[in-house]
Symmetry: C2
Subunit: 335 residues, 2 copies
Amino acid sequence: MTIYDISKKAGVSIATVSRVLNGSDKVRPSTRKKVMDIIEKYDYTPNAYARGMGLQSLRTIGILCADSSDLFLAKAVYYLQQELQASGYESLLCCTGYNPDIKRNYLHLILSKKVDGIILVGSNFIGTSEEENQYIKDVSAQIPIMLLNASFDYPNVYSTLCDDHGTMYEAASAMVTAGIRDILYLYNSRSYSGCKKLSGFRAAMEAGGITDHEKRIFFYDGDPQQLDAVADFVERAAEKISFHGVIASDDSLAIGAVKYAGRAGLKVPEDLSVIGYNNSMLTTCCTPELTSVDNRLETQTHQLVQTLLGVLSGEEMPKQSVFSGKLIKRGTTLF
Amino acid sequence: MTIYDISKKAGVSIATVSRVLNGSDKVRPSTRKKVMDIIEKYDYTPNAYARGMGLQSLRTIGILCADSSDLFLAKAVYYLQQELQASGYESLLCCTGYNPDIKRNYLHLILSKKVDGIILVGSNFIGTSEEENQYIKDVSAQIPIMLLNASFDYPNVYSTLCDDHGTMYEAASAMVTAGIRDILYLYNSRSYSGCKKLSGFRAAMEAGGITDHEKRIFFYDGDPQQLDAVADFVERAAEKISFHGVIASDDSLAIGAVKYAGRAGLKVPEDLSVIGYNNSMLTTCCTPELTSVDNRLETQTHQLVQTLLGVLSGEEMPKQSVFSGKLIKRGTTLF
DNA sequence: ATACAAAATGTAAACGCTTACATATTAGCG
DNA sequence: CGCTAATATGTAAGCGTTTACATTTTGTAT
């Protein structure tokens, strides 16, 4: 069933059918009805690929995210899709996984679909070496690239992010100010934002006059959703060093620390203070509830889409929009 | 940059370029290299829409899911995409939200993209009235429809699901057998599987000789991810009726009950037993850990994709594949 | 009724690929 | 070295839309 079949059955030309389908103003109501009836009768759906051939822009944005079952990324994607839909844009979501080669493949895949722009969700799309980021440069030559939670200075690449360094600095400083000087730092990503958080932590330690913090920085290499495995990891860390506070780069790691405390018979927050990051639903899941950093995801996604729409309509837009996160105090801290 | 430009630069015809792109066997190695060099030099990506026009099948499956930030749905989507990718199929994911009209729009959208099949993830795509499900009948006339966690008997519609009735019956019966006869039942969806779970609960109550269970069945109408709101809801329920056990149709509701217990000073599981459903990461997030029903999601998604592949290659496949869920006993129950 | 402008509709080219079929090249063999 | 068969490459016809431009119809003012 093609537009051609419809046009014959309705006794009009294909151009008229096309106009009806696209809501053109220049169709007589009686003709429109005649065509619509046939379309509905045969449950006709125009072929998106043929449309894609003719049209200049399909008003479509590609969204790439490593793993949509990650709470943070899932929420980000959700907000983005809502925003885009509200602005009349379709979105194409690809969950790429963390393998760099596969990521690159998906980028080409999405590029082949005539998207007007690409949003890379999460800082794991930005590497540390020039070479790793070459593919971003290549693509940005063709269409604008938006980064959520990462930053990369290059023409036609726009960044929206949380000041993870400063925010983590504030969070860690709050703990130091509360008198806790032996803090375990847990992280599981060396991505752009992962590095910023870590540097913020280090800066806070130095500012607090702490000098032996490096030995309490631990990289967790497993699946963060396996909370028991995280707890095991913290337990092993506790065998090596002592600590009275835990700061994690993600809520799930922080929850693992709370679990460890339960096993070890430590009271939270009296014996152990814990701060998470991302302010996900996990924060209210445990007892006591988890103090965490809210990185204003909804504000960020809104800003990102506004910037993108501006860029697409040819306006000059800020290359980087930075927001400050905020420590949400709950039960796992005394301060 | 089109195949035509590439062909000119490489000094061959467009057919040859096309053959190189599609990995055809009938190209001389020297020619292939010549073409590949140009392709890489100009970072050329073929236009997916033009390809879509020519090709019979694009080896693409559409996946529809209401909300990918729901833990259960997100995991299901993740497994499905992995399975499909491993079988050489591309997947097109659409998060539709819960509005029926928008859902229907997305179905047409995805249909327009020449997908070879459609997977509907989650039972909220199946309604209770004939009319609600009409759209499924219409679409199934064109391509096969796979249901995950729902069932609908119609030609070209294939279902893979957990026996929610029986599984919930087992779980509830276990609680009754343990001597708990006043059980609060929490649910938040009247979808296909939501109804099956509820009927399983009722059957277990009746089998246990309990007659006043209807007054302890509560429908929660809010956002299940707002755990505090769920706890509030349970608190209000407790003002109306008494209970020593809670069974929920989803882990997040169960967690809300655990939170309520904490507030009310009730010890879990001594004063209150709690059973969740879906065996999500939330189960290990709280203390004590949540007893929950595992519905074998990975097994289901595997079966679903195998069935789909079978159908697509013209084989006769089972219309319905049912798996039994399994109660995973953790700390919120004594039995 | 007639002429003319405005509105509605139709015609045909273009979009960038795939692929059946035609043609040219190569290799093997006597 | 010429012939044939096999292999590689080229040509051109679709695929199903959109849309500029041409044509027809309608409405309005004379």
